[in-house]
Structures are given as C-alpha cells and as structure tokens.
C-alpha cells in the first residue's frame, strides 16, 4: 500500500467529522443568515425565502441587538483585564521563592477551572442572594450596605464578571507561571547587584520577558469572553430587565426559543466578525508595541 493512501485513511475519520459537522455548518451558517428560516420553514422547506441581507438590516435596527452587543463588550472590557490581573498576581505569588506549599496552592487556585460552569453558577446564585447570601451578610458585618446583586440591573453584570474571574483565572495562571519560570534567573541576579527594587525588576525584566505570553493569553481570553452564554443563562436568565443578555444569549433565544434560525445565524455571524476584528486589532497593537 502506498503511503499517500495510508495517510488519507488515517486522516479520513477526523476529516470527515470535522468537515461534515463543523466546516460545512460554518459555511452553511452564512447562507442560513441570508434566509428567513423560521418555524414555518422548519415544518415545510417550501416556506423558506431568500432575504439577502434582510436579517442583518433588521438586527442593526433592533435595540436589543445593540444592548446585547454592549453587554458583551462590557463583560470583555472589564472581565478580561480583571482576569489577567488575577492570573498574573497569582502566578507571581506562586513563583516567589518565598512561597510555601506551592503545589497545594497551585492546585487550590486552579480547582475552579475544572468545575462545571452550570454547577458553580448555581452556587453563585445562592452566595449572592440578596436576603440570605453570605456575600451580603459579610458586607453588613463590615458595616457596608447590602447590594441587590442579581436583582439590580446595574449589579447583575458585575456579579457575572466576578464569577467569570473566579472561575477562569487559574487557567491563565498556569500558563503565566510557566512563562515566569522560563525567565533566566541571572537577569534578576544582575538587577539585584545593581540595586534595582522589586518594582523595577518587575517593570523592566518580568513584564518585557512575559510580554509574548501575556499577549497570547490576553487575546485568547478576549476571544473566549466574547462567547459569554452559560453564566447569564444560569445565574440571571438574561435579567433583570435584560441587563445580562449577551450576544450568544440573544442568538440562543432567537434560534432555539423563537425558532428564527435565519436571524439567529445573522447574530452569530455579526458576533464572529466583531470578535475577529477586535482580536485582530489587539494582535496588531501588540506587535507594533513589541517592535517599538
């Protein structure tokens, strides 16, 4: 048997699955977004009509789409820096020669990452309960006012952001920790001999050396955070007053609650384009900054 044929036989199962159940649907998603596929078309394909960019046009005129996009951006813009700061802080602490029991702390800090979003989101609902929640109880014990975390439209998204930071920071922490460990110790040695303070060492050695890792981790986190869905679905169900409806939440409701699959595909595509543009700009900025 020649190697060409063997290779394709080995590739066939994976390529078949990926092609049929991922790449084909992605291409079809664009076509779908140009139609008015809805409940009637689901029952009988003869009701399907081609509407060109009609779905996109309607979406751009729907306040809910813009607010969903806005909530998603809010989540990304506040959530990503907070997550990265938590990850970097934890990685620096773990990497410190002064730290004891590193293995234990690393496992403890990483544990939330492997948990099931739905299960821990349910915990969050009770911890942030206005009346009986431990968080408000602690606030009151400190003499602060309790907050209507999940009932106040201004606080619901911050609560979800706190959840996401808690759940996800351990992932990047591990990657950043590996990045920190790869920095040659003699750089710090030399800096210490020159009398550089810890802050200066961090600013002039750690950050520049960590820059490629930070860039990669940051962009992947941005892309991940644009896909906000399970958290608002479980914690707030999009409320209160639709203040936590994210773009994907809108896509889900539009597609699988109201069965407007054409319009939902347009939401998915617009989100994808926005996400692509944002990560592209970030990547370019990071490259330019790196050269300067």
């Amino acid at each position: 048997m020649n190697t060409q044929r063997v290779a394709w036989l080995f590739l066939a199962p994976a390529l078949l699955v990926l092609g049929l159940f991922f790449l084909l649907p992605v291409a079809a998603a664009f076509v779908l977004s140009l139609t008015d596929y809805d409940l009637y078309a689901l029952a009988d394909l003869r009701h399907l009509r081609f509407v060109a960019l009609g779905n996109y046009w309607e979406l751009l005129h729907r306040p809910l789409f813009w607010s969903a996009l806005g909530h998603t951006f809010y989540f990304v813009i506040v959530g990503v820096p907070l997550s990265l700061a938590a990850s970097l802080g934890a990685a620096l602490l773990l990497n410190s020669p002064l730290a004891r029991m590193q293995a234990f702390f690393r496992t403890a800090l990483f544990a939330p990452v492997v948990t099931t979003v739905v299960a821990v989101a349910v915990i969050w609902r009770y911890l942030f309960n206005t009346k009986y929640g431990l968080v408000n109880y602690a606030l009151q014990a400190l003499g602060l006012h309790p907050v209507d975390w999940l009932g106040d439209p201004h606080w619901a998204m911050p609560t979800i952001i706190l959840f996401a930071v808690w759940k996800n920071f351990g992932y990047n922490m591990i990657i950043l920790l590996a990045g920190l460990q790869a920095i040659p110790p003699d750089l710090y040695e030399a800096a210490r001999i020159d009398g550089a303070s810890l802050a200066r060492q961090f600013w002039h050695i750690t950050l520049p050396m960590l820059r490629p890792t930070l860039t990669m981790v940051g962009i992947l986190t941005v892309a991940g955070y644009f896909q906000l869905f399970a958290e608002p679905y479980v914690i707030t169900e999009g409320g209160p007053l639709q203040s936590t409806v994210s773009a994907l939440f809108l896509m889900y409701e539009e597609g699988f609650k109201w069965w407007n699959l054409g319009a939902a595909s347009a939401v998915a595509f617009l989100l994808f384009v926005v996400m692509f543009a944002v990560t592209g700009v970030l990547l370019r900025l990071a490259r330019r900054g790196g050269e300067a």
């Binding site: 159940f21 079809a28 730290a99 739905v118 821990v120 009770y126 431990l134 597609g255």
Partner: protein
C-alpha cells in the same frame, strides 16, 4: 521590607487566594448536607446543624439525578473513546506520514481554530434534525468525535517520534496499521492520557450544545438537568447544592488524580505557532 514580613505577605496572600478559590466549593459541600430549608436563615449557617443525606436521597429517588449521571457518564466516555481514536490517527498522519498538501491542509485546520463553535450550531442543528439525531445521545457524541485542538496536540507530540524507527519497521515488512498500533501508540501514551482527560472534562462540562440538541428530559446530561432543576427548584438551596456536588465531584476528582497530565496538556496546547 524585612524578609520575614515579605514571606508572611506572600504566603498570606496565597492563603487568602486559595480560600477565595475553594470557599464556594466547600460551602456547596457543606450546604448539601443541611436539612431542607435550613440554609436560608440569618445568619447564614456555614455548617449543617445536623448532617443529613436527605437531599441526595431526594435527588436520586425523586428528581431522577441518577439518570442524568448515567447519561453524562455514557456521553462523556463515548466522546472520549471515539475522539481519541480519530484525533490520534489524524495527528500521527499529519506528523509522520508524507502526502501531498500535508502542510497546507494542517495550516488550514489550525486557521479554522479561530472560528467559534457557536457559528456552526444553528446549521448543525438543522443537519442533525434532517438525519434524525436531534434528541439522541448521538447528537451530542457525533459532532465531538474529532477536534482540531486534539489533532494539533497529537501532531505536536508525535513529531518527536524518530523517523528511523518507523522506517526500520517498514523494512522489516510491518504493515502501516501494525506500526501505528504496535510502535506509535505506546510512544504516544502520555499525550493520549492528557488528551483523554481533556476530552472527558470538556464533554462532561459542555453546556450549550447539549442544551440545544437534547430536547427531552430522558436524555439530559448533568449540566442540562441541573440547569433545568435550578429553574424549577430555585428555592431549594440544599437540594441544588447536592446536585452541584454530584455534577462537580467526578471531574474534580479526575483532575486531582491526573493533575500532572492535565496541566502538561494545558501548557502544550497553549504554545501555539
């Protein structure tokens, strides 16, 4: 800053961070043993006054959590086995078998990594509806049988296998399949374990796709069952926490047991390009 103060500060902060990370999980465990209705009190109790297994009994006897647990085990195991087979074969082919357009095809696949899975979900739902897989376990399993990430991971690892080893086996007249099963797979064992844990955890924790494709309660996996329970039993804190324990404990246990492999894979997968 004196060295002793610095040491206390670093370890104090680590302790605080670990407490924040673990507290919700420990609280969940504690509340799951509280008698129904006792968690919603002021001040909020931290430990059960009298530990009881009643919530777990309700969960398995009345609410049907056992079914969800069995479904989750079945779906996640099937995905892990099938995805492992597809990804190992493809990853090995990309790393070690020569064929026309290999690099370009691989680049194209890696490029497709940026496409979020959700873009495919709506047409995929229609596709599965027309072939009759909506509301079946196959609807969850089949699309997950291969992942670009898995192929990528295996390929990176398999590149380390020396070509001479494979050539020698070919000269000895071993068939390609024998070479793969007898020589390559044993060498790929570490990445196989890593990929298996990754796949199992991802399948177990997956939410959005199963939510879409599993429309009937009898097919619910744990996260879907738990989410639907959370809407019906919003007031039953203790019951919900028991449900969360049942959902989280298997994956947390698996992670703790196989931590080394998991973290290795995480680092391997993150070093792109």
């Amino acid at each position: 800053m004196s060295p002793r103060l610095a040491k206390a500060l670093v370890n104090g902060l680590l302790l605080g961070g670990a407490a924040v990370a673990l507290f919700p999980l420990l609280w969940m465990l504690s509340v799951s043993f509280m008698a129904p209705g006792t968690a919603s009190a002021l001040p909020p109790p931290l430990l059960p006054g009298q530990a009881t297994l009643e919530n777990y009994r309700t969960l398995f006897v009345r609410v049907g959590m056992g079914r969800y647990l069995a479904n989750s085990l079945l779906v996640s195991s099937a995905i892990t086995l099938l995805a492992l087979a597809c990804n190992m074969m493809a990853g090995y082919a990309f790393a070690k078998l020569r064929f026309g357009g290999r690099e370009r095809l691989f680049q194209a696949l890696v490029g497709a990594l940026v496409i979020p899975a959700q873009v495919a979900m709506l047409p995929l739902f229609l596709l599965l509806k027309y072939i009759g897989l909506v509301n079946s376990f196959a609807g969850v399993i089949v699309p997950a049988m291969a992942t670009i990430f898995g192929v990528y991971l295996v390929r990176q690892y398999a590149r380390g296998i020396p070509d001479e080893l494979l050539e020698a086996a070919r000269i000895d007249g071993a068939g390609e399949w024998r070479i793969f099963a007898g020589i390559v797979l044993p060498l790929l064992k570490p990445i196989m374990v890593t990929l298996a844990i990754f796949t199992f955890l991802a399948a177990w924790n997956d939410f959005m796709w199963p939510l879409i494709v599993l429309t009937g309660q009898e097919h619910y996996t744990l996260p879907i069952g738990l989410a639907s329970l959370a809407r019906e039993h919003a007031q039953d804190t203790e019951l919900m926490m028991a449900g969360s324990v049942v959902t989280v404990l298997p994956v947390l246990g698996l992670f703790l047991a196989m931590q080394r492999y998991y973290l290795q894979g995480l680092l391997l997968g993150s070093v792109k390009g």
